[in-house]
Symmetry: C2
Subunit: 452 residues, 2 copies
């Protein structure tokens, strides 16, 4: 018989005279005549109750079945007369697949997130982490759906890069030789690093195929042990030809709304867990993200708002300063109480590839600020004018010969184009209310931490 997933059984309902389920025991409870097993198979948050009586083949194995054991059950799916569940399985055969000794770390009790990080290989078996990784999966699938429906092409940009100046942060070195060997002996005969962004290659593909997106791992070798930084994380980077900054913000807003609506619709049980136990404001945040029109505010105006705010900030603000998380959150959480696009940032604090505005003081950059997270998205219209691009590179002391191919794309059929980067783990923190990035990645990589 083919196994049924508990998610499907609960959706389809009963009666079904013959079903086979497989899963892991959450609890076992004995009464005079029956034993009750709560079984979860990871397909959904809910477990299903299995009733075993002394006539059931395999009944004797019950003695060895404890929390954590892997079992399979054949039986009848029926309406449950008991409280707390609508359906249950009356077992016709019980098989113990793998026992679980008393030192199983996930006994039925509350465990701290800190403890669960030390058993990252087992924590997805808990309600909370099962829910996180189901939401992570569905978010990924919804992202692909969003772009596929809109005719975007999924691209894969390189992870190992020969460029050491992508400019978005400290890089990991990639090598096959010991540190004293000459670079000519290294695998690529050149110093190579792990990418911090796929944007520049993505632009090449947008300038061929039109609308593209890359979705893959990126890396920062920054030695900062915060709840918001990981050395390895996933980034979504759409890039659109024939698109200006306003169109760029349109895509970003549509994307977030589509993802939030999809997750609320398709992961309702898992989201409810976070709304009930992790962040009481979660549903309000998510419905605002889905339903509100996002504010679009020039950076200059944001500085004015922050200057006249009654709130005391740790860092001062002035035109030309990079906003801190406290400022970003103030704007989204307190002042506007909804998502805010800031745009037209000062040229001096932004990378060379952002399009210079006519004022020659700002660039066509945009950040999306959201409650609790701060910056979720950063993007820009790209500088498509070759002469402006080259003079910006000169200003910033970037070696043109390293970027010959990038400059080529402005030499031959250059067109306006725009794109942005979205930190996938920050999106997951926004969707779940989880406050530590280590808890939305199955096996997180942070300074000094590379277990599993």
């Amino acid at each position: 018989m083919k196994r049924s997933k508990i998610e499907s059984l609960l959706k389809e309902g009963c009666p079904k005279p013959e079903v086979l389920i497989c899963g892991w025991v959450r609890t076992k409870r004995d009464s005079k005549e029956f034993s009750f097993l709560e079984v979860n198979d990871g397909s959904c948050l809910k477990s299903i109750q299995v009733i075993v009586d002394a006539d059931t083949p395999g009944y004797k194995s019950l003695a060895n079945i404890a929390t954590g054991a892997g079992i399979s059950v054949e039986g009848e799916l029926v309406a449950s007369p008991g409280k707390g569940q609508s359906l249950e399985i009356r077992s016709k055969e019980l098989t113990l697949l793998g026992g679980s000794p008393e030192n199983y770390p996930l006994q039925k009790k509350r465990h701290s997130d800190e403890f669960l990080r030390t058993i990252a290989h087992l924590r997805p078996r808990t309600n909370k982490y099962g829910a996180i990784f189901r939401i992570r999966s569905k978010t990924t699938q919804i992202i692909h759906r969003f772009f596929e429906e809109r005719g975007f092409f999924c691209i894969h940009t390189p992870i190992i890069t020969g460029s050491d100046c992508e400019g978005a942060g400290e890089m990991f070195r990639v090598t096959t030789v010991s540190g004293t060997a000459p670079v000519e002996e290294d695998f690529f005969s050149k110093e190579t690093n792990l990418t911090v962004s796929g944007q520049l290659p993505a632009e090449m593909l947008a300038l061929s195929l039109g609308d593209v997106y890359s979705f893959g791992p990126t890396f920062r070798a920054e030695n900062s042990n915060t709840s918001r930084h990981a050395a390895e994380f996933w980034m979504l980077e759409p890039e659109m030809a024939f698109c200006d900054l306003s169109g760029n913000m349109d895509v970003a807003e549509d994307l977030i709304k589509f993802v939030v609506a999809g997750i609320l619709d398709e992961c309702a049980d898992d989201i409810a867990l976070f709304a009930n136990f992790v962040d009481k404001t979660l549903m309000a945040t998510l419905t605002s993200l889905r339903d509100d029109n996002y504010v679009r505010l020039p950076y200059r105006d944001a500085i004015d708002i922050l200057k006249s705010a009654k709130k005391k900030f740790e860092y001062p603000v002035a035109f030309g300063s990079d906003l801190q998380s406290e400022h970003e959150r103030y704007l989204a959480e307190e002042h506007f109480k909804k998502p805010v696009f800031l745009f037209n940032y000062p040229k001096a604090i932004k990378p060379f590839y952002m399009r210079v505005n006519d004022d020659n003081e700002t660039v066509a950059a945009m950040d999306l600020l959201v409650p609790r997270i701060g910056e979720l998205i950063g993007g820009s219209q790209r500088e498509e004018r070759m002469d402006v691009l080259q003079s910006r590179m000169k200003e910033m002391d970037l070696p043109e010969e390293e970027y010959w191919w990038y400059i080529d794309s402005r030499k031959f059929g250059s067109v306006p184009h725009s794109g942005f980067g979205l930190g996938f783990e920050r999106l997951l923190m926004l969707l779940t209310g989880i406050s530590n990035i280590r808890d939305v990645i199955a096996f997180p990589r942070t300074p000094g931490s590379i277990d599993f």
Copy 2:
């Protein structure tokens, strides 16, 4: 006005009084009264013909419009009286976005694949490479669809790994210190590498969530300059709890059939290009992949077939030898003329995690062999019995302390499970008939080659 993609216009048909298209000029042809521009925007293989006359605003910019130029056109979409196209656009306004000087490398003529690799940033603007990357995109999206429909969860396994013995090949070292610094000063206080497979972490998630798949980059630091090897490539790795070897082959066969059917259906024009100009046998290969039942053959029987084959092989075969590409291709191309699963390989040539069969001589491994490519998929039922796993690790001198978490998964609620790995670029070579892996990756990484 919002731009229309050429793919949509051709699908929707005419007449449309007002459309805006943007794209790159492939050719320009002048007649007495009109100029004809063939414009491609990357959304599909086909270009669209634009007719410009002297009354069109922007007509003067025509002088500066050559092959490769970026333009936008507003006009009327009408049925074309000319040959070679069903629709055309009578322009009402023409705008030159970015010119293309005479040294544009992609003039209208045949270019060799070798030359195009040197301009990987521009080659997606050609028919052939545009088609490849559209197929690459659609294949990615179809893969996600396949697994989503079947209730699989998409997972992201780590790229940087602390394990140096995943056993699938030479690894790249990842570091933030110079080679003479003590390892304690390195970012993770440990030697770290780029992953060669996400399987072991994927097993942890399958043993929590049921059915999962990871799809991401993997790395081999092998210094082999062949047409089939790249240092960086994408791998699809599904992992299924409560699944044996036969179920594993079912998933693999269903997946390939689903992908091939989807590509034939959704990328018909692009596939036709490859069938016409790259591989005349392509359609026969693809329909066989979609429609035939795949052979399932024990390795032992394959050895017998190869031994009694009339063909002269370079490498001899005997029970216990690893099959070479020539053997794999003989079985799929000549003997069976369709895809073949080989299963139950000798234990001695397979990794520690594959389940030992009752004969104690073979393991529950399977490879899918396909015409032209050889091995497309490699997988196994995993060893779920802790004692057998540990004795296999001892036999192979693997340090148990490095794998404590992996062994844990057999200690607590261990259940039968299976999975496989599919080399994504090999799948793309199979789907397109392209014979060099460098031509299905936007920016390939091979020994000594790290441009772009």
